[in-house]
Symmetry: C3
Subunit: 138 residues, 3 copies
């Protein structure tokens, strides 16, 4: 069994944002030389997500509105976590969108359906944060 | 390390529905001959889910009502994604229910608690869609 | 490829609660002797979660309030699943928080960011319930 590990760094200039990281993961996969196996991609921070969905700007706008409705940032004081912090909502949003994904690797490529793309979802940005890529297989 | 891959096709005749795919996954596991490892089961489409919960019709009714409350289909025009499409809500529902599951394989069977069953969750049906089954182990 | 399996038992004395199980998983990892690979940690019951987030009591209070708002326990009769049962809301809460997590193992330790901790999330407690730990790697 072979294994591969890499950290990817991101700095989203606003509080929230989505970045398509599929090309980064494809680069990692090539570096790994692994043909059959699984790749785990996860946010290493607990106010961010890695998820798979559509690379469509209208949908990303809708996600922003929807997540803000389900877990509003304001009023900041409504959360007990926000004692010297203001990111409790980000911990909620990350649970809905998920910590990470596991993707099958088949014949050396990400084994995806027609529209699947991997995103880094930032909910408390404006600082350097990391994504972990771990691949196991042969 | 051995690996196994299969696509399962489904066509849910209504917009939304849940299908118990546990027997399909058990068949894949037998075909694979893998005794110890992990199986990844994921929707290959971004308006569908694979999740684990109870095979109980009352609960499935409750999920339908609950998901429609958290991410309503109507009004279709409230979503920017719905420009020539009407499935933005399906992209939301799928995030709550999840893209897929990873299940342990022990002694050649799905290593499940007493009530765990694997479901395909369709949120934009009436067409052929796929689930990926990838197994790695020995 | 090596594999390791263990069941962890918990009994949360109230209906809902969160337990930091990171030390338990670290003990499993040491027992396994696996240096590179992945660990799957999942609730074996469908009214409980395993998730990764912050070990901060204010946040746990906020999760409790938030989940109760998104999937209220009362009125019990509003759920069709609650025919001789009262835990439909627990099946919803578990979907938001997730069934389980996959964590990378690198150089014999859980490959975590600075604040990541693994929690058992109980939504229908006051009885013995299990978490499965499955590790594969080398």
């Amino acid at each position: 069994m072979k294994s591969y590990r890499k950290e990817l760094w991101f700095n989203v200039p606003s509080r929230r944002g989505f970045i398509n990281i599929t090309p980064n993961i494809e680069t990692c996969l090539k570096e790994s030389g692994i043909e059959e196996g699984m790749v785990l991609v996860n946010a290493m921070h607990i106010t961010a997500s890695v998820f798979i969905n559509d690379d469509e700007s209208g949908l990303h706008h809708d996600y922003e509105v929807w997540l803000e409705k389900l877990a509003p940032h304001e009023p900041v004081s409504s959360y007990q976590h926000n004692y010297g912090e203001d990111n409790a909502d980000a911990h909620m949003k990350r649970q809905i969108m998920g910590r990470g994904v596991v993707v099958a690797i088949t014949k050396g490529v990400l084994d995806f359906g027609p529209w699947e793309q991997i995103f880094y979802g930032e909910f408390d940005g404006r600082r350097n944060k990391r994504v972990l890529v771990k691949i196991i297989g042969e």
